[in-house]
Symmetry: C2
Subunit: 691 residues, 2 copies
């Protein structure tokens, strides 16, 4: 299902077969000539600009404007948090779906935002100048400072931008240190829910069908951006082509693929395989078990746990297939071969050899340190040992208070002036916090921290010397007031003094572990991040020298465009067609979740054309974060709504398998049929320009 | 903690460093000369005979006779099932401990048995003759038949054995097909519980401390074997030496290491790494989460779940460290090198080359099939999809009825005449079955079967076409009567007709999936087991030709003897001493499980000598199954009770790391102090010959 952290691509392999439509390209470096040559389609600068400014980055997904009045199309699962926010123990919008009866009934999503990329500015030279001549640790610190300074200067300048008004500026690292950019966004902070179907049809097949194709999911939702309390004026938007594409048609995906690791060295991949994925998988699988068991205890519990469980199961499937991918020794050998080839190209050029050195070795050494630090880092600084929404609030409040007292450029990067408004929005948002759920995640965090760091690890010993994890968590949850958004907003406002005065046990806990957390973070930054970043920059430059820039950078939730065609695939002797049709939905239904067809679809069955196309597959190179991406044709019309990849797409984290990796989208024909014949959503259809 | 399936060793590597006390040796091939040369200790045939006939194989562990009246020493965790059997939702013998007030108060363990190995007969020639000239599949079938025939003939002959009376005969495969033996056992089927301390002291530190050293666990229990309703006469037994050994003393471990994979080929190890361990770990971690969450729902639930959770957490730690071991590419490269070296030795000898062929290639090909079959095999034939005690009863009843109608040698090997009495004992035993627990494991089994085999897999589709896993399981549990041991005994007695007539839904389910389960098993046996066994036999013969028999076979729960010394180790710059003392137990206590010292130990504190030795480490090569093994000195006296290995011992599944792999035992001094000063167990001490 969920590409909110899933499908993607850069040519880490040095030889890209000519037939592979591989790559998540930046808009400033899109291979328009290749596409023209191969498919006869012209991708003009104007086309690119229009598509770029119609594409939205949500906090967790991609979306696009689909009307001039701020209407936004994305996936159902991208709006899950918003739906959960408007649910209670007894009524779940996730399950029931939602359609606003009119503009005033649209529901505010309190933590969602929409960013549109307006400008990109190359600042590589400025960053290089700031770090030049420094050793790895000093360079790491200096790099962060200069990026903060650049962002700050950019935002100040953009306050008075005559064209766009205020812009958010974010520094962006492309090609693992090969290029640094400032990306400038128009940000909408008032998003409202317009329409969502029932979970049962949005993710028909649930976790068992997740990452599978053929599929029958109407994984869509519709939001609207507001400005000044009114629907935003969004002249740049995409029109629907409800007929959809034919097999073999050229199609594009614009969006924000979240993360790929195709440029990592072999030693970094092995750290993933050996030290990072297995403990993560064990914890996630156990938490899944706790969630499921809790969910079975009552109907209320089932509601409470639904959204976090969906999200967890999605991540779990991604990461277990990641581990499978890294167990593919033949692929790892190809990686190693590509690495050897690049090293040989470097060695053959004395000047390049001198400037490059042996960054692979440097990374390998840093990886040894990473393996030793990864568990304390995960449990203490990443707070896996304190896995609780309330603790995370406390951590943010404590750190924001401390960091705001420092000059902007001296702060932890997630507390700079540029990020504070967003943080404040998140901390103050009125979202439900369920103590039962907090107890599950927090207790498990402490229990696993004790297991993995050992009962004699000083922090563990200090916290649990006379209390069990259950007792400690019960005491914290009983005493804390952080479930109240007004209290949180007050503590944010009150800053360092309010934190110092607070008797809230969760705040006190966050304070009491902060020094240890910062210490392990500092060690990690100095001994892992710093040498790896310095070495990665040198590898990036060596790669540019050897290959030019006709390659794409690893995905990192920045805007990309991929091209491909509507296409099925062949696997284990079976051929999978690129389209599914409505009839099979009804045939596969069992009556019980996750294979239950919701009532409105049963009622509408006689009105629906059973041959309506439902979902489709394409060979675009995407990854998690592309959820909600529009699939568009050469004219820039929407011909699908990306919501997943097939199971083979997950290895796209590390390499692109053109034969098997497929993106999966909702077909526009089923969107039309659903809005018209099932939900009678006249106003929406009209706004979408449907006849 | 638990060696009931944990620590072990054969030299799969071709070069054994002279200093490594590596090896789990058979009694018929013990390297007495090496021990004599290295340590000046004489291990005579008489010594070996006495130790062998004092050593007991329990159903899950090792034990030893410690008095002439059938008194048996083993671990607490080896008696967990028996303790759980005598517990209820409201009273847990696991937690409270137990001491029989006198012989009549000793509690029957309804499914436990004690086997003592009386004779070993080499039948390799007979097996080879039966399979000679056949292709792999036919040989696989023929091998099973001849082994059944040999066991049957052996038991018939042993019925009238003038020395031992009736003996159980089991065929045994040593060196992965290099040798076949008949092992002949005296079996005790009436075992009773005499003494067990509280779980809190038996496994102080619980799962966090499991597989750790230093340790403070009194992981002991005492049983007694009965014959004809009276304590058995057991003239062969081991005496305690309560003073215990000194650092550096030579010590031996006799017992039944469960399983090692040191002789597997590299392709087999990769199947473990890629296809077997990861899905197993994901399921086990999720089940752990479900158990824990359920256990927190009430005190009763906590009692119910305690024993299965302990057992699961132990296996989970073993297998996650197994995966870590197989991520050690340097060790795998050494394995590959040893394989290459053996291949070269084979090639260099034309006759050997001809008789050997390329079994490594053959195994590699079979492994491809195994990877494709492992999930259906696991879920359907191994019944991971039907994970429930009641379903397992149903499966045994259904299959036993069907198999008993066939000639002995045509049956599935687990239903031959030799095994039926034990099966009947297990099926008819009055052990508690908790529907709540059944629901957890069974529902999860079905949910994961649907996830991993897919919702469209025919069996999944058939079972879940109109019912959710929850609903199906609830219906089965409501309708079945298999929780009643009398009903099970009746169905066993009734045989095929009773099964055919049964309206019990669990029996009907087991019947309805049996054909599919047998089909996947047959495919597995023909396409994986048969070629792998045939190839393994040829590798074994090649290895004998190259190395002789001065090597040890992989552990397979047959009797072994290992030698070593009392020894700590050095790791990450720290030196770990081989003994712990009582004082630290009290210092580490937190008051909350699993670090709670039970009341009798708090009350006795002033009477106890704080410098009493508690646990100790040795460098004996052991593995799971050695739990309960006596640690004995050169005189054959008990100087410890093996109950665990350190964390580095787990890689002993694949190779023996002499520098880091350590066995962990309870020191006899703490056993004496506990029985005398904490539990006032006068009668037991007297029987143990303590002054």
């Amino acid at each position: 299902m969920k590409l909110c952290r899933l499908l993607a691509a850069l040519a880490a392999t040095l030889s890209i077969p000519a037939w592979a439509d591989e790559g998540m390209w930046t808009f400033q470096n899109f291979p328009a000539a290749t596409v023209q040559k191969k498919y006869g389609v012209q991708v003009t600068p104007a086309w690119l600009d229009r598509v770029r400014t119609s594409t939205i980055r949500l906090s967790n997904c991609t979306a696009s404007f689909v009307s001039p009045d701020g209407l936004i199309l994305t996936n159902h699962h991208c709006a899950e948090a918003c739906l959960a926010e408007h649910s209670s123990k007894t009524a779940s919008l996730l399950e029931q779906g939602f359609m606003a009866s009119g503009p005033r009934a649209e529901l505010r999503c309190s933590t969602q935002i929409a960013d549109v990329l307006m400008e990109m500015e190359d600042v590589t030279a400025k960053v290089t100048a700031a770090t030049s001549g420094l050793d790895a640790r000093a360079a790491n610190d200096a790099r962060k400072k200069v990026l903060t300074q650049l962002e700050q200067a950019c935002e100040e300048a953009a306050k008075s931008d005559p064209v766009h008004g205020a812009l958010k500026c974010e520094s962006v690292d492309l090609y693992n240190g090969g290029q640094y950019y400032l990306y400038k966004f128009k940000r909408y902070t008032d998003l409202r829910l317009v329409f969502a179907p029932e979970q049962d049809i949005a993710s028909f097949g649930g976790d068992p069908d997740n990452f599978q194709f053929p599929r029958w999911d109407l994984d869509m939702s519709i939001l609207r951006a507001y400005e000044g309390g009114k629907p935003a004026h969004t002249p740049s938007f995409l029109k629907f082509n409800f007929a959809g594409p034919k097999e073999g048609d050229v199609v594009f995906v614009t969006g924000h693929p979240g993360s790929t690791d195709r440029l990592l060295t072999v030693s970094q991949l092995l750290t993933q395989r050996d030290a990072i994925l297995p403990p993560w998988l064990l914890r996630a699988a156990e938490l899944r078990g706790r969630y499921i068991q809790y969910g079975k205890s009552s109907a209320e519990a089932d509601h409470i746990v639904e959204e976090p469980l969906n999200s967890l199961e999605n991540s779990l499937k991604v990461r277990r297939k990641d581990l499978d991918a890294l167990h593919d020794d033949a692929q790892l050998a190809r990686k190693a071969q590509a690495e050897t080839q690049l090293k040989a190209q470097v060695s053959a050029d004395p000047q390049l050899a001198k400037s490059t050195g042996d960054p692979w070795k440097q990374i390998e050494q840093a990886e040894q340190t990473e393996r030793a630090l990864v568990l304390p880092y995960t449990f203490v600084e990443n707070a896996a040992g304190f896995n609780s929404r309330l603790f995370r609030y406390a951590r943010v409040l404590v750190r924001a208070a401390a960091e705001r007292g420092k000059p902007n450029e001296e702060r932890l990067r997630e507390y700079t002036d540029s990020t504070l408004p967003r943080l404040q929005q998140q901390v103050s948002a009125d979202v439900p916090v369920y103590p039962e759920l907090e107890a599950i995640t927090f207790t498990m965090g402490l229990e696993r921290m004790r297991e993995w760091l050992g009962p004699d690890y000083p922090l563990v010993r200090r916290l649990l010397a006379s209390e069990s994890p259950d007792a400690l968590v019960a005491r914290l949850l009983k005493g804390t007031q952080l479930g109240n958004p007004a209290i949180r907003a007050q503590l944010w406002q009150g800053g360092a003094q309010a934190i110092a005065d607070s008797k809230d046990p969760m705040i006190q806990l966050a304070q009491s572990v902060d020094a240890e957390a910062r210490a392990v973070r500092k060690r990690y930054e100095d001994e892992v991040e710093a040498p790896v970043t310095a070495a990665s920059e040198r590898i990036a430059h060596a790669r540019f020298a050897a290959l030019g820039t006709s390659v794409y950078p690893d995905a990192n939730f920045t805007l990309r465009l991929s091209y491909g065609t509507v296409k099925g695939w062949t696997e284990d002797g079976a051929t999978i067609a690129p389209f599914t049709t409505l009839d099979r939905l009804y045939e596969r239904a069992t009556g019980a979740p996750p294979f239950r067809v919701p009532q409105p679809w049963l009622a509408a069955k006689s009105r629906l054309d059973m041959s309506t196309k439902f979902d489709l597959s394409t060979d675009n190179d995407i990854i998690g974060g592309n959820s909600g991406s529009p699939l568009i044709n050469a004219k820039g019309e929407i011909v699908g709504l990306i919501f997943d990849g097939n199971i083979n797409s997950i290895s796209g984290d590390y390499w692109f398998d053109a034969a098997l990796n497929r993106a999966v989208a909702v077909h526009p024909a089923i969107i039309l049929a659903a809005l018209r014949d099932v939900y009678h959503a006249k106003a929406i259809l009209q706004e979408l320009g449907a006849k």
